[in-house]
């Protein structure tokens, strides 16, 4: 690659001064040429790059610097570049018309810095000023609108959904979020901590805390013992298994299949209760800290957990098989809420939803770390049909995969029995934290959780960027429900199970 980009591995840092500054029009052409391949898909592998970061930073004197991070999944590296907008420049040519996956990134950049992407087809607010926005409308005798939310029945997060329906069929769904915007990124700059990181998105406590911890350890040069690394991976897989089991139950609940709801509900509790035994919190709050983990896991707990997980795995297998044999269940799941492989690649789906649509992307395997590699985990191969059925099955496969990884971690933990779990981080030196750009990507249960940090000349954090998988995937849900019955929307929604707070930040 030429000097327009600088490469960076996952969980590593580069000097901020090394990042090239391009002219925005050159950068745009570069991005388009690198990402264009991603529309064509072969065996689920994405040819070409996809965006994981596209964000601005205040560069003094009214200038704004735009950072772009593209992911080269095949080679497991990220490409970083940037452009500088002088104070007077308030617009540039939009990338979205060429590469649709950028649409939400450009909307975010516009909202935060007021620099307008010219010819952006859909410059809708992302987190602020929802009231001023005019929704798309359809006209016609039999067209009706259904507005749902932002306050919903049940205890769920706020988000507004506007359906354009013809009778029972949804023609178009518009999603409006931002009701939970808390300014997390600036909070992280002011006073970042593990506690804050794990509170960003309550259903991905481990993924967020892990991404934050790895990022800060990278920036500050803190080392973590092998045992602690393994316990972190263990927690990540337990979180994945628990949430996936819960989601299978929720899908069963939406189609009024009572038995599934009960069995999955009960087994999920067993998994999160094991987490409670390990860390004192059912969701693993307070487990991960800078420099390691706060709790050691002794052999006694491992034996108990093994027994529990065996039972959970057996129960989940049996229930999933019963459900997939039940024709009334399968008829609800199959061909509901389909996102084709081409479309998924085009709009840049990530994580579980992307895999269900047949894209072979999983940052655990694309950007593996040393400890994940020694576990010899295997990628899941599933013919991704992109419907609710596929998202149901991929969850099931990932639960089995997680339990197999968990088993391997339990075996490996014995080898490191004597190691401490927390080295403490007093040893860190401020020296190597100056003018740093670092990135950490963790595959949470929903998909890639991206954390990016920058420091200034004194080693102080100046920018903290977070990207939740939901950020990419909400639009996938909007496409999935097109031409489906409006009464199938909750089922589609549950099969994606996207985060509101992770997107609103």
């Amino acid at each position: 690659m030429n000097s327009n980009w600088i490469k960076i591995k996952n969980n590593s840092k580069i000097s901020l001064l090394d990042i090239p500054i391009l002219d925005i029009s050159d950068l745009r052409i570069e991005i388009i040429s690198l990402c264009r391949g991603s529309v064509s898909v072969e065996n689920g592998c994405i040819n070409g790059f996809r965006p994981v970061g596209f964000f601005g930073k205040d560069w003094g004197r009214g200038d704004t610097r735009l950072f772009v991070v593209l992911s080269d999944d095949k080679n497991g590296v990220f490409y970083v570049s940037s452009a500088l907008f002088k104070a007077g420049i308030r617009e540039y040519d939009s990338i979205t018309p060429e590469i649709p996956a950028f649409h939400i990134f450009e909307r975010e950049f516009f909202e935060e810095f007021g620099i307008k992407p010219k010819d952006h087809p859909w410059l809708k607010p992302l987190r602020k000023n929802q009231d001023d926005y005019k929704f798309f409308e359809m006209d016609g005798e039999e067209i009706h609108q259904v507005a749902v939310g932002p306050i919903h029945a049940g205890v769920i997060e706020p988000g507004h959904f506007r359906f354009m329906c013809n009778g029972e069929t949804v023609y178009h769904l518009e999603i409006m979020l931002g009701y939970q915007h808390r300014g997390v990124e600036s909070l992280m700059v002011q006073r970042s901590s593990n506690r804050l990181a794990e509170s960003i998105c309550g259903d991905s406590v481990i993924a967020y805390n892990l991404a934050y911890s790895r990022l800060m350890e990278t920036v500050k040069g803190i080392s973590v013992s092998s045992k602690a690394q393994l316990i972190r991976l263990l927690a990540l897989e337990m979180e994945r298994a628990a949430i996936h089991i819960g989601d299978l139950g929720a899908i069963a609940g939406d189609i009024a299949y009572l038995m599934g709801t009960s069995v999955f509900g009960a087994t999920r509790t067993l998994v999160i209760n094991t987490m409670l035994e390990f860390s004192g919190s059912r969701f693993g709050r307070g487990l991960i800290t800078l420099g390691g983990v706060n709790f050691d896991i002794d052999d006694d707990k491992i034996q108990r957990a093994k027994k529990t997980f065996d039972k959970v795995e057996k129960d989940v297998c049996r229930m999933v098989k019963t459900m997939l044999k039940n024709s009334s269940v399968v008829s609800r799941l199959e061909k509901t809420g389909t996102v084709s492989t081409e479309r998924a690649a085009e709009i840049g789906l990530v994580g579980l939803a992307a895999r269900a649509s047949g894209l072979n992307t999983d940052s655990r395997f694309d950007f593996p770390d040393k400890y994940f590699n020694i576990l010899n985990a295997e990628r899941i191969h599933l013919k991704g049909t992109g419907d609710v059925n596929a998202r149901f099955k991929i969850r099931y496969k990932e639960i089995l995969q997680s339990f197999s990884i968990i088993g391997k971690i339990f075996d490996k933990l014995k080898e490191y029995e004597k190691e401490p779990v927390n080295c403490g981080y007093e040893v860190l030196s401020k020296e190597n934290a100056k003018d740093v750009f670092a990135i950490s990507v963790v595959e949470g249960w929903r998909g890639e959780v991206v954390h990016i940090a920058m420091t200034d000349g004194t080693g102080r954090l100046t920018r903290y960027k977070i990207k939740d998988p939901s950020f990419n995937n909400w639009y996938g849900l909007a496409l999935a429900v097109r031409n489906n019955g409006v009464s199938d929307f909750p089922l589609c929604n549950k099969s994606f199970n996207l985060s509101y707070c992770g997107c609103d930040l």
Binding site: H144, Q145, V146, A147, V148, A153, G154, E168, A252, D254, I255, A256, Y257, L258, M259, T261, S262, V263, A266, N326, S328, V329, S331, R332, T336, G485, V486, S487, D488, F489, P490, L491
Partner: protein, 307 residues
């Protein structure tokens, strides 16, 4: 004695609807591996609701306030034409079936306009679904009723028990299909799985539940009681069909209660073992009822004119 029996029927109308809901919920809890609430819970809920204060949307008119009362009154009047625990209806007039059907129709009509009166897009959607399904159920119900009238020469529910003596061996088949058709009607009109999901909180998927989103307190209590009463009435017709006429009054009452209990358990079990149908497939499900009705009609025609 006759007065005592009427009193028994009255108690049945007042208490049994709650027990039906309670038993269904208990059965579902059992299959779900839970202990579940007491079978009297719907009754407790009813009492709780009538103690509450009203909240009435400002966008509604008098129609909305009228709806629960018309629904309730309609259902109670309809109940008088149905043979309950004693085996004969409280009011036994010519063409009782037609009065029954159209009084139910009146309650349904008010439920629909009451829902649309709120101006909520959800409730309009629910009303549209409910109206659509009802309009397919109605012909099936009348085909069955007309066949029975033709066979017995009498348009009341009390004559259901005469099918066997008037139609001979055809009667057995007619009774079997009529029971099946009524069971399906019970699931459709009672808003049970696989047609509707009474337990869901997702407005977009609801049919009956979404129509009463704006109702509260006494109105809500009355509406949920009326919905259970409707299930009781359809179950009572099934009981009348399958309990032989030769049994005595007290035995009839025993068999009747047993049948209602069994039907509740069957519904609870069904709800636990199958998923809900996709909305667009509900029509196919209702057409199954229509086809049963057609079978009954053709059996009747064969019996009367075929030799």
């Amino acid at each position: 004695m006759a007065i005592l029996l009427k009193l028994a029927d009255l108690i049945i109308i007042l208490i049994l609807p709650f027990l039906i809901s309670g038993v269904i919920k208990k059965t579902k809890a059992f299959w779900g591996g839970r202990k579940g609430a007491s079978v009297f819970q719907p009754l407790y809920d009813f009492i709780k609701l009538i103690k509450k204060d009203f909240v009435i949307s400002k966008t509604t008119s008098f129609v909305f306030k009228l709806t629960p009362l018309v629904s309730l009154a309609g259902l109670i009047i309809a109940a008088l034409f149905v043979p309950l625990g004693t085996g004969c209806a409280m009011i036994n007039v010519e063409a009782g079936i037609i009065i029954f059907a159209y009084i139910l129709g009146l309650s349904k009509f008010f439920a629909l306009i009451g829902a649309m009166d709120t101006g909520s897009s959800f409730e309009g959607m629910g009303a549209s679904r409910e109206a659509c399904f009802t309009s397919i159920v109605e012909p099936a119900f009348f085909m069955t009723a007309a066949s029975i009238m033709a066979l017995t020469g009498n348009f009341t529910f009390d004559s259901l028990s005469k099918i066997l003596e008037n139609a001979g061996s055809y009667g057995v088949l007619i009774i079997i299909f009529a029971v099946l058709a009524l069971l399906l009607m019970l699931l459709i009109e009672g808003c049970r799985v696989p047609v509707d999901d009474p337990a869901t909180h997702l407005e977009l998927t609801m049919i009956h539940e979404v129509m009463i989103l704006d109702n509260s307190a006494f109105d809500l209590a009355v509406i949920s009681y009326a919905a259970s009463l409707k299930m009781l009435l359809i179950s009572s017709l099934i009981a009348k069909l399958i309990i032989p006429e030769s049994v005595g009054t007290l035995e009839y009452l025993g068999f009747y209660l047993l049948t209602i209990f069994l039907i509740s358990i069957i519904i609870g079990t069904l709800e636990s073992s199958i998923a809900r149908l996709r909305m667009s497939h509900v029509f196919e499900f209702i057409f199954v009822m229509s086809s049963f009705a057609l079978i009954i009609l053709s059996l009747t025609v064969t019996r009367m004119f075929g030799g």
